[in-house]
């Protein structure tokens, strides 16, 4: 079943100073099935964040439609939870208060929402931190909370924009493994923006590769690696390196595209 359906998406920005119009997204279409993990990769500035922001309802598209669960979306809503690169946790709420925020907005009774929030905090490894404030957590733990806060709300799709980009490499590996574990356990639908090829391959069922601006879908690569995945085992699979090389090629223009460009004539 399709959870997310993007068709013919385009976006023109008007530069605030020059008044010049730039087409960020040319024509992008794809779907994400329920319980599927799909990443989007592309050169810097090709419009990955823009695609996510349009899906989230933060930014209005110029053309095309976004459907979630079959309904056309307009504006932000609880059916699309967002995990931000900057975490965007509420500093004035405790860990528990942050995790239960969405449920409170849905008017879930206090007992029940606390139970659910605790369950998801435990799932992401934050049990015992319920009464801390976000600033008392490390960056990695803050992002775990960012994930728990969205999952506790049980959205149709979880949107993540480079959620681990500001976290040190060591912790990032751990967070990626934990995200995979959570995904394999709960099977949420995830749409994941990244510029890290290995990360995309490791986490995803499919990887959407965008072209440079104005972006179109260059290719959608299916990642058929066995689950559960761990960095140690998954990276040893020849298929992993193969997929990663394939995507690198696509991003750098691919061998067949590059040669004519270098040709002096």
């Amino acid at each position: 079943m399709t959870a997310l359906e993007i068709s013919g998406l385009s976006k023109d920005y008007v530069d605030a100073y020059t008044g010049e119009e730039i087409t960020a997204i040319g024509d992008v279409s794809f779907t994400v099935d329920r319980g599927e993990f799909v990443s989007i990769l592309g050169p810097s500035g090709c419009g990955k964040t823009t695609v996510l922001n349009i899906i989230a309802g933060f930014v209005k598209q110029t053309g095309g439609t976004v459907k979630v669960g079959g309904r056309v979306v307009d504006g932000p809503g609880p059916d699309r939870g967002v995990v931000f690169q900057s975490h965007a946790l509420f500093p004035w709420k405790t860990v528990l208060g942050n995790a239960a925020f969405g449920l409170r907005m849905k008017r879930v009774p206090p007992k029940q929402r606390e139970a659910t929030a605790r369950e998801y905090l435990e799932l992401v490894g934050l049990a015992g931190f319920e009464h801390k404030y976000p600033h008392e957590l490390s960056g990695g733990m803050q992002q775990r909370l960012g994930v728990a806060r969205v999952l506790a709300n049980e959205p149709d799709v979880m949107l993540m924009d480079e959620p681990f980009a500001s976290i040190d490499a060591q912790t990032r590996r751990k967070l990626q493994e934990d995200l995979t574990r959570v995904f394999e356990l709960r099977r949420p639908t995830v749409f994941f923006v990244t510029h890290d090829i290995d990360e995309a391959v490791f986490l995803s069922d499919r990887v959407i590769v965008l072209s440079t601006r104005p972006s179109i879908v260059r290719e959608i690569v299916t990642v058929d690696l066995p689950r559960p995945r761990t960095w140690r085992e998954t990276t040893q699979l020849p298929e992993f390196r193969h997929l990663s090389n394939r995507i690198t090629e696509l991003l750098t223009g691919g061998a067949e595209d590059v040669h004519p460009a270098i040709d002096p004539d």
Partner: protein, 279 residues
């Protein structure tokens, strides 16, 4: 081995001692005043200035006891504080909704900003002549001036605070299902609080000064009146006492109201770097 332990333990202790003393709240609060009072006392004892212009701490303490006994000081103090309460109360009542209304609407901000800047420029005291014409020498006149001085820093603080709320927090709340009212109550108000708190702090400080000034001019009672009246009869000790009372009251307001409020909110949430964070 033993030598190294000794050597490393030594400087540690010399650092620890003064630090322990500095951490003591009484020492930290009163400590800085000790040299000031000593200098004051020394200046008085050495008769650097004639007695009609300058009195020592002992004389002022005597004056304090006298005025407390006669009930003059408590009476004036409660008059001043009552006025301040009215002023602050109405100031908050007007300033908070006005501030958020202006901050939340682009057009309200556009339209009121020139007015805000214009009226902010008219010093509080500059209103006194016309206010006295309108309301006479009354509580209303004094309240008006205090409200005036509090509202502007408060409104400006709120507008700045609302602007500082990260856009991502609002977006996060919206995609967790918060409607406009919820976003306002749960994100914008607490997010604006650091700036709002400093607006209140500034406003209260201005209001307190405006009160004393108003009492001097409008005065029939109050600490400001007491000081000015004492000057008229040449009672320097009472003038000194009034000045000290003003300082102590502001310190108390800060220690009992403002600082605990900030500790319970802004600092608790990690929105300002606590003084201790650096150590």
């Amino acid at each position: 081995m033993a030598v190294t332990t000794r050597a490393s333990a030594r400087p540690k202790r010399t650092v620890a001692m003064p630090r322990r003393i500095l951490v003591n709240p009484v020492v930290r609060t009163l400590g800085p005043f000790v040299p000031v009072v000593l200098l004051w006392w020394l200046l008085a004892e050495l008769d650097v200035f004639p007695g009609a212009f300058f009195v020592g701490p002992d004389t002022v303490v005597g004056e304090f006891a006298e005025l407390m006994r006669k009930g003059v000081l408590p009476g004036y103090l409660s008059d001043s504080l009552t006025r301040l309460m009215y002023g602050v109360g109405f100031g908050l009542l007007i300033g908070l909704p006005l501030g958020f209304a202006i901050a939340m609407s682009f057009w309200a901000r556009r339209l009121t900003w020139p007015l805000l800047l214009f009226f902010q420029a008219i010093a509080d005291i500059a209103w006194l002549p016309i206010v006295i014409v309108w309301f006479g020498f009354s509580l209303t006149a004094v309240t008006f001036v205090i409200v005036y001085t509090i509202v502007f820093p408060l409104v400006l603080g709120i507008v700045a605070g609302v602007e500082q709320v990260p856009r991502e927090l609002i977006r996060a709340a919206r995609s967790l299902g918060a409607g406009r009212l919820r976003v306002f109550l749960e994100v914008i108000v607490p997010g604006a609080l650091p700036s709002l708190a400093s607006g209140i702090r500034t406003g209260l400080g201005y209001g307190w000064r405006a009160l004393v000034a108003a009492e001097i001019i409008v005065g029939t009672s109050g600490v400001g009146f007491m000081m000015f009246d004492a000057r008229r009869v040449g009672d320097v000790a009472e003038v000194f006492l009034g000045m000290i009372v003003l300082g102590v009251l502001w310190y108390a307001t800060d220690a009992l109201v403002l600082a605990p409020f900030e500790r319970a909110t802004v600092e608790r949430w990690g929105l300002v770097r606590q003084a201790e964070a650096g150590k």
